[in-house]
Symmetry: none
Subunit: 218 residues, 4 copies
């Protein structure tokens, strides 16, 4: 009795829906959700397979390893953030651009905590026992460069390359701090979230140097 015959007899029903690439996407989506809900370490391949509705070994048709799946999820998450940033970078200019970018960043993190958590806050595998060369942030340099670009647009040409990086990194860190804490410690007695975000974004740029009204200074 050959394999196909056996299958016909036993009637082991396959899951006909969305094989191939769609199935892969489905897996990634469920994994993203589960990872950020319960943490990468807590979620087992069995759970992922169960959520997708396939068998555990079937995962291995799409990803050679759990680690590979995790990394792909991270890359996707970063991709989503980059996309969001790219979408807004042309929508404003001057100080407004900074506010817009900051808002986009925060909104992304809070509206997709799953993705953000996976991208920035997750303990990734550390193969050799040291700190990891985390593929996620490495891929995230692209997102950083977008942010840096926005800084250039906002600050005009008067800054050195290093000054630009300095500002961009400081701002990035500031934004990340807010988003990560809001996500990670939702039970902390935060002030009104909306006001906090607004104030935080406002503080990203120093107030316009010249007193714009009334008495002018330099």
């Amino acid at each position: 009795m050959d394999m196909d015959t056996a299958r016909l007899i036993t009637g082991t029903g396959r899951k006909p829906k969305g094989m191939g690439p769609e199935r892969r996407e489905e897996i990634l989506a469920h994994a993203l959700r589960l990872f950020s809900e319960h943490g990468v370490h807590t979620v087992s391949t069995r759970q992922i397979a169960g959520a997708v509705g396939i068998s555990q070994p079937s995962l291995y048709a799409y990803f050679p390893t759990k680690q590979a799946l995790v990394e792909e999820v991270c890359k996707r998450a970063f991709g989503a953030l980059t996309e969001r940033m790219r979408a807004v970078i042309g929508q404003a200019s001057g100080r407004d651009l900074m506010a817009t970018m900051g808002r986009a960043y925060v909104d992304f993190g809070l509206s997709q905590p799953d993705a953000y958590r996976v991208a920035f806050m997750i303990e990734v595998a550390r193969p050799d026992g040291g700190l990891a060369q985390d593929p996620a942030l490495m891929a995230g340099i692209e997102a950083y460069l977008l942010h840096r670009e926005a800084v250039v647009k906002v600050m005009g040409g008067g800054l050195s390359e290093e000054a630009i990086d300095l500002l961009a990194q400081s701002q990035w860190a500031s934004l990340h701090g807010l988003v990560s804490l809001l996500i990670a410690r939702p039970t902390f007695p935060w002030v009104d979230r909306e006001r906090l975000i607004e104030a935080h974004i406002d503080s990203l740029l120093p107030p316009p140097t010249a007193k714009p009204s009334r008495v002018s200074g330099t």
Copy 2:
């Protein structure tokens, strides 16, 4: 070969060294290091015991549970931070106090990345599969309150309770963002670390220029 013979040969003897409280401290130190290097989930009690040089069950003479060990490590880490902050809060005033506090915070995080990581960045147990109610940040409220106190001292009495919290939380988030990113992604192409920190701390408070209040500025 009976057991005694085997013991003589392999030399599996008791380890009389450092009993009692010192042993406990030793365990905590190794656990702190391992947790921050590899993550709480990845480090097993076996590994901790191995690092300390004792057997796995011996851990349980000092901590009833891995979770208890983790929590103690967290408490210590937070305690160290609070101590550091308390130490500096009286050493400066005005804007300098803010810089001093910020510097203390960042220094703590960078000089004790293990502790910081454990205290702020670690995935703690999630009881119901939801977000964790972790003892760490809850205990960390004490540290926050110290920071808030500093804000009050710096800003004087002109701010409402809410405004104080707003500023304090935004600053805290900003500091956390910098420290956590520097710790978590050391391989990112950061600008000069010292300048970045300085600039970041400087940006915590708006520049002292003109008092914008009362007299309106746009």
Copy 3:
């Protein structure tokens, strides 16, 4: 030597034999035997798996927990007893019914000492450190009710509900005492087992001599 090579040499292959439900039954059978031979507490899942010829984790494909396995074994044991009793309750009447039932009970216990031991004599889990609320006897109430039914048939309608229970419980206890002692202490210098059983069952009902009241009989 890599893993594959090692596997070829040691021959650690899969064990395709008897999958699915048969495997489950096989596990139950071995567990029943081992539990009754050595006691539930003494038998480890490793031992059960070893007896069945599968790996320890494979057990968990069939039973989520050792406790679940124990409970299934108990349920089966009780089910077998109930079945046996139900089979004979219609086969006799009058005093004969009592003897038949008693005989069925004793035969069950002695011919399936494993099951009987598991059902009646085993220390089950004690949730609060107190006496156990074990699922076994609770499920065994069904068997008791069958016995009670037989008592009703035998004694006719002249007894109050309470008198019926009184008699049924006393008889049940008596039967249990014999079976459990014969099983538990086989090395005791018992008299001829067959005669003992017969006499014991005979003693369950008072001799039919004269009906002490009303109409005198033989």
Copy 4:
């Protein structure tokens, strides 16, 4: 620094009370209680030591092994039963003696369920993997012989040796059944316990052959 000096300095307080034999008794008493409350397998030497107020290793000064402790506890329990039976065997004669003995047996079991459980119902160690040559029941033959003696007294000389054993063993089994079930399954919907015991004991002997009422016969 010698040992005694060290002890004086560290002040490791010994427990001065009842050393030697009293201490041994204390251990046995606590063990009996714990074993019957939680089961032999569930109670650890640590728990016993803790209950007694001594250190775990100190147990090994009195009993070479947990098993030895268990066996001693069993022997004591049987001793207590034998004592009780011996105490009542001279207090009655004829049918009353049987009732008195039965009552003593049941009372012993119910008033000292700890001892009874340990003596009769406990899973003892089965060293070779088979059914145990349980030291408890073996020691309990003495108690059986007392019961047998009572049967002789009650039934007069008209019975063969074998008939005596037959009756004695059947009765013993009957009593054991009641006691063990009452102890083991206290939550079963038993009828009034007192009536049940009385009826059960009454049924141990066949009713006096002659109709006792009204017309006397001998």
